[in-house]
Symmetry: C2
Subunit: 462 residues, 2 copies
């Protein structure tokens, strides 16, 4: 057994240095969705390999057809110590609209926002560079204090999480023997609130699809052809408008196949968390749930499927006005899936629904953008109980079992390819503005998150 | 009387030079809708003033709060000669999407496209630089042959026709005495087909409006908030989809107020032109009329109002995918008006229709982009009869009386501010791709159009 208190003490004393290290990683513009930033993605991977190597990991950049993986291994103190695989991703979301950022998204800073609260600003500060560095810092402290880690630790950092993870499955398959551990630890999740740590037991799946409606073979003058020629924006608007009924329910036939009603005792435990439509949506300037009527916002975002429109474009979108009828219009649509919904069936149902609504003289084209089923973890895994105790010890409040609205496809992939369950613990906050301008990570998340992972590693050995 | 044949002969012999001059004007990137091209607009105005001055006009660039006007005057042969005001516009539409152009839109060229047909390529070659230069060339020939013009001629060239003509009305009001003539000649119209000249007696009006729906105060992660937070693209799609019923009729309350049924003899004369949905829409790869069922494409585009969506944008529209719920989405909408529809009432009805469909926790913002009523000219004006004869003489086929789907707001402004009717004659063809990539103007339009204006000037003196 490696005593925990000096490790926690080391993390406290080294906080400033750990922030500086995180800044180094945040300065790298590793936007995976835009090919222009490919070399920056590689640079982030190399940065991580260098850092992990410096604390004794056997770490390497592993090429893929897309952005590279980082894989690292470190022995445990004894051959029979638990073996965990820690997963995070070093890629980040695009930063547009850039003009809404209060400071350069790739020039991180520490800001005092009053009330004793400090934040780390920058793209990736929360999602996911800040979160993954927590674990690296916990390992560093163990190594500096004890010269060893309490468990055998493998690490997998991905560079395509924000762009569909095309290389991930082949990589897991090809390297299954190397990556298989007792279970995985995935750090992409959030606290319940600033005081309450959380473990996530449910994750929505995702089907992403781009729909492009083609009408005339060129852009037309709306005076000359308006009233006669098909308008692809009008067709697309009708298709999208038809996808929900007036109660907020998705109208695509077969969409709700595999969706289960959440047990009432679970719904009650979520009610007890005290979240209301006003509190949940008030954070972002809204107040009225847009989903199926009669369900709480937690149920809507944790246990109900959605069909959301993530982008739309067609015709003239510049300054001023252009009296044009466009030749095409397109929308990016994503469905969040729950329980046993089948991504492939949902994609086919969506496409059939769209095709039915395209006039005979027009056409539609689909581009697939990723798909993964939902995840429902078991409540009673031993590693979950141990981690719950560790988190409750650190935060002085019992950790809560929650679900999450976002997809973390890796959790399903670990199940499918490596036969591993995952522990999902993270320290992000709802106001971190991940995927939005002015992303941040609380300094307290960064500090107590490091301590939390140190405690979890310790708890797993007991 | 100034003999006509030597003028026509001069135009024939000088065709090559007139093409070169047009190229000079086409090379100027006078895109009025984009402020970045303001200096190019001024350069086009200066180019025209220099050219008009060179053939004896008293011409000047006249500043406005927007792009400048060109005003020029030339005496008639006698004080009692007719006085006409010729109107055109030197500004052009934006050129995006640039990648669809087969050659640089601002590097005009003469191309042989086979079957004895040559075309002039480039942005503005048809709309409206090519069309306005016809008249300048006709005047040049008169001056070179006879040293004088057959009528008193004033010229007004505008630089904001493609961007809402904000400066036009104040300019007409302020310079009414200088610009008032017996009638106006407006050159922004088309031939019926390549053999048949046309005079236009009806023009649709226009109401342009930009609708921006605001939801959350920032972009949101669609996993975290999807199913709970209002999605502005979904709201906007529903608003737009609601604007037409299944028969293609516009559903905005009060929209059809002031719309008259076209007299059956007029509809019959249009039927006699032999245009079908297949022939009209087949040109652009379509076949099914999108407007009100049971009406011909000519009635739909000439005598029925529309509500068209010219542009839409919201959320992530770049490459790849971003699982975001946008904070806002917007659409550019334009209504084509006919008969006695009131632009201001239509705008208000449109706004009320949209507002009713915005959830209580969201908001909507409107930006006005121009408005003008429809024009219905009298069939029996003497200048119309004379021009009809002149055109029939040039083309060897009777000129037809048609309507037009596009707006030419100047015609209403001439009525309102200068008390003048307008003669609408132009030589564009339906396949000129105005407002689209690869705009062109037939060399035969350019040649016989010059001769046509020379004949019209001559006919007016008889």
């Amino acid at each position: 057994m490696l005593p925990l208190p000096p490790v926690l003490d080391r993390l406290d004393r080294n906080l400033d240095h750990s922030v500086e290290r995180l800044f180094g990683l945040l300065r790298i513009k590793s936007i995976s969705t835009d090919p222009a930033y490919a070399s920056e993605c590689r640079r982030a991977a190399e940065w991580l390999v260098a850092d992990l190597t410096s604390i004794g990991f056997d770490a390497s950049v592993r090429d893929t057809p897309g952005h590279p993986m980082v894989v690292a291994h470190h022995d445990g103190p004894t051959p029979d110590a638990p073996h965990v695989l820690f997963y995070g991703h070093y890629d980040v979301q695009p930063v547009d609209p850039l003009e809404l950022w209060e400071s350069d998204p790739f020039d991180p800073a520490l800001k005092d926002i009053g009330a004793g609260r400090k934040i780390i600003t920058g793209r990736g500060s929360s999602d996911d560079k800040g979160q993954l560095m927590l674990f690296v810092e916990a390992c560093r402290a163990y190594k500096e204090v004890h010269g060893k880690l309490p468990c055998k630790v493998s690490i997998l950092f991905e560079g395509e999480e924000e762009s569909g993870s095309a290389s991930l499955k082949p990589f897991l398959e090809a390297n299954a023997a190397e990556l298989k551990a007792d279970f995985a630890m995935v750090c992409d999740t959030s606290m319940w609130d600033r005081e309450t740590p959380a473990l996530c037991i449910g994750l929505r799946g995702l089907v992403g699809e781009e729909i492009t409606v083609h009408a005339a073979d060129r852009d037309l003058h709306s005076g000359e052809f308006g009233g006669a020629a098909a308008n692809p924006i009008r067709i697309l608007a009708k298709v999208l408008a038809d996808m929900h009924d007036e109660t907020g329910r998705v109208t695509i036939p077969g969409f709700y196949e595999g969706v289960e009603e959440t047990p009432s005792q679970i719904l009650k435990s979520w009610e007890a968390l005290g979240e209301t439509a006003e509190s949940f949506l008030g954070e972002v300037g809204l107040s009225i749930p847009s989903g199926e009527k009669g369900r709480s916002v937690l149920e809507l975002t944790w246990a109900r499927p959605t069909c959301e429109f993530n982008g739309i474009t067609g015709g003239y979108t510049g300054k001023g006005f252009k009296t044009v009828i466009a030749s095409q219009a397109s929308a990016k649509v994503s469905c969040r899936l729950v329980h046993k919904q089948d991504p492939q069936k949902i994609r086919e149902a969506l496409r059939a629904f769209v095709r039915e609504r395209i006039p005979a003289d027009c056409s539609v084209e689909f581009d697939e953008h990723g798909g993964s089923p939902a995840i429902q973890l078991s409540y009673d895994a031993p590693f979950l109980t141990k981690a719950k105790t560790a988190l409750s010890d650190e935060w002085g409040k019992p950790a809560v079992m929650i679900a999450m609205g976002g997809s973390i496809p890796i959790v399903g992939d670990f199940q499918n390819y490596l036969g591993m369950e995952s522990l999902l613990a993270g320290f992000a906050l709802v106001d971190d503005r991940i995927h939005s301008p002015n992303e941040k990570y609380d300094l307290s998340s960064f500090h107590k998150g490091q301590r939390s992972w140190a405690r979890i590693l310790d708890a797993l050995t007991r």
